[in-house]
């Protein structure tokens, strides 16, 4: 029983880390640009598929390094050409546009790489279990946890100590003033979008190592990411991080006792948060 609980707890942590990685990217974009990026799951899929195509040339580690940057570059292009035109307009339009993008990306990946699911090879020494008793502790899972922790820590370092990060946070609070102070807001939003998409691409490479490649792999991750943002509190990145891990763990633990409810429980959590504390765990009062 202990083993079962531990197994699901650990599983929940990993899933939660994915939710958090996705949700942090969504949250960055939402906070600075007011855009809900429905296509985030699509960018995640592109990250996975690009890594799949890069592995023969660069090896696993090269693909892990390069693929997220390529995805971020695609994201930056998309922002320049399409998303930029919608800033300041009703959120309805950015929702519809990214919604259409999500369709196009899913169909595009299916067209290029095929509809059937593909296996994604990770280095053999990573996939071995680390302990005979706790079979679920494979090297890959521990590695994923460490990498996600490092990336999230890196993100917060960027946001707190670099000029770009400080401007992003300032822009979240008051974009007009930031603009008046001489910061090029268009470039700022562009880079910020790229940063958010980078996180999606990285999540994609990591996810396909565990789940394999499917064109709609992002679909199952995007809804919980929305909920992570709502539970954590709109406008708060630490909140989003906490929200993602929290719903992952709660959903994992629920699997032990009531497997059928493991999806539903995160929606129950969202409902509870909205009733008790509509601004979310760490959200600011009156922001939305």
């Amino acid at each position: 029983m202990t083993q079962l609980v531990l197994f699901n707890l650990f599983n929940g942590l990993i899933i939660g880390a994915f939710y958090a990685l996705m949700a942090l990217g969504l949250s960055l974009i939402l906070n600075l640009s007011g855009v809900i990026n429905f296509a985030h799951g699509g960018f995640l899929a592109i990250g996975g598929y690009l890594a799949y195509s890069l592995v023969p040339y660069l090896g696993y580690w090269g693909a892990l390094l390069v693929s997220p940057f390529l995805v971020a570059f695609i994201g930056i292009l998309v922002e320049r050409v399409l998303i930029r035109q919608l800033y300041g307009r009703d959120p309805l339009y950015s929702l519809l546009l990214t919604f259409g993008l999500a369709f196009m990306i899913e169909d595009g990946t299916r067209f290029i790489w095929g509809a059937q699911s593909l296996p994604f090879q990770i280095p053999a020494w990573l996939s071995r279990p680390l302990s005979a008793d706790y079979f679920f502790l494979t090297g890959y899972r521990v590695f994923m946890m460490l990498l996600v922790t490092a990336v999230v820590a890196g993100l917060f370092v960027i946001l707190n100590y670099t000029r770009l990060g400080i401007r992003i946070r300032a822009g979240t609070l008051d974009l007009e003033t930031v603009s008046v102070l001489g910061v090029n807001v268009r470039v700022l939003r562009n880079l910020n979008f790229g940063l958010g998409i980078y996180l999606a691409g990285l999540a994609g490479v990591l996810a396909v190592g565990m789940l394999g490649l499917q064109p709609n792999i992002g679909d199952n991750l995007i809804m919980p990411s929305f909920i992570a943002i709502i539970v954590g509190g709109l406008g708060s990145l630490p909140g989003t991080l906490a929200g993602g891990i929290l719903i992952g763990v709660v959903s994992g633990v629920t699997t032990v006792f009531l497997p059928a409810a493991s999806e539903a429980v995160i929606y129950v959590m969202m409902a509870a948060v909205l009733i008790v504390r509509p601004r979310g765990l760490l959200g600011e009062e009156g922001r939305f």
Binding site: R89, L92, L95, G100, D107, M223, A264, Y267, A271, F288
Partner: protein, 329 residues
């Protein structure tokens, strides 16, 4: 800042024709559809689908265009209506009206409860919560296998002929009869919505859309009004959902997925949000196009996606909005 939704929809379009003429023309077209659709190389079932989705989109527009509140989760109540109808006819009472009644009641009650949780939220936050709550019912339908048969959907049932006591209308086997049945339901719902929008209640909703803060200062209980508008909108979407189930004699979880919600929104925007008939026109264009594209290419998803993008970039006021703007210049 930039352009807001209310700015876009507020530019009142000068009418190309008298409003009443337009109404009469639309009703004549709808009533005669079974006669001219086959002649135009199409089929009556497509007309039925257009009317069903037009009802859903018009119901969404009650909230979106006339109250100024964005919901991206209306498919949930559409799907609840559909499932309520299908399960009632399959397991409880083999009667079309009873099935519809159950479906609509289920959808409206769910909307009333969820509405209470989200009416305090605004803008993007409201939209996000509607999306997330919309998915709850998708997962329930997907996972409650013993009742809903999961991903395979509820099949092995069909709509029943209408028994009026003195006569029976065979909406099961005659597609024309079913079309007129759907059109009659559509007419009743649309008339009810038009009546509500012209009433003081409807004018209050439009006042909230124009300027929520001013409405609040005038003493209007804004949250309560938005809640009522939400429930009314979801109620009529459920009606459309029941018709959708009857139309297909089948329902599966995809009826309540988030892409279905997106379809309702794009139909509404495509036709024109400010105009009452916009959603009907949007629904017709969207479904005819989808019918055409999906019969010509496997990659219809890309085309539909590109279609979304193009509408947002070049066509945000929709067809009726564009006609209005042309008339100005």
């Amino acid at each position: 800042m930039g352009e807001r939704l209310s700015d876009v929809v507020n530019r009142t379009a000068p009418r190309l024709m008298d409003k009443r003429t337009g109404d009469i023309l639309i009703w004549l077209l709808l009533l005669s559809a079974p006669f001219w659709l086959p002649a135009a190389g199409s089929y009556v079932e497509l007309g039925t689908r257009v009317v069903v989705f037009a009802l859903a989109a018009t119901a969404l527009n009650f909230l979106l265009g006339y109250t100024g509140v964005l919901s991206f989760g209306h498919a949930a109540y559409f799907g609840l209506g559909a499932y309520g109808t299908a399960l009632t006819i399959k397991f409880l009472v083999a009667s079309t009206p009873v099935g519809m009644l159950v479906g609509v009641v289920v959808g409206a009650i769910a909307a009333a409860i969820i509405g209470l949780m989200i009416i305090r939220l605004r803008g993007v936050y409201f939209a996000m919560c509607t999306i997330a709550f919309g998915q709850v019912f998708y997962f329930i339908a997907f996972q409650w296998f013993s009742l809903t048969n999961g991903d395979d959907g509820v099949s092995a049932w069909h709509r029943m002929p209408l028994d009026l006591g003195f006569t029976t209308i065979d909406i099961l086997n005659s597609s024309n009869a079913f079309y007129y049945f759907v059109l009659a339901v559509f007419a009743a719902c649309v008339a009810a919505m038009a009546f509500l929008l012209r009433s003081p209640f409807g004018r209050t909703l439009q006042a909230i859309r124009e300027n929520e803060r001013r409405a609040r200062f005038l003493g209007i209980p804004v949250d309560a009004h938005i809640w009522m508008s939400w429930v009314i909108s979801c109620f009529f979407v459920s009606v459309a959902g029941t018709l959708f189930a009857l139309m297909n004699n089948f329902v599966d979880p995809r009826a309540m997925r988030w892409d279905q919600s997106g379809t309702f929104v794009i139909m509404t925007v495509l036709g024109g949000m400010r105009s009452f008939w916009g959603p009907l026109i949007g629904s017709a264009i969207y479904l005819v196009l989808q019918d055409y594209i999906s019969s010509h290419t496997e990659n219809w998803m890309s085309f539909i996606g590109a279609f979304f993008v193009l509408i947002v970039l070049f066509f945000p006021r929709g067809v009726l909005g564009l006609i209005g703007r042309k008339a100005v210049s």
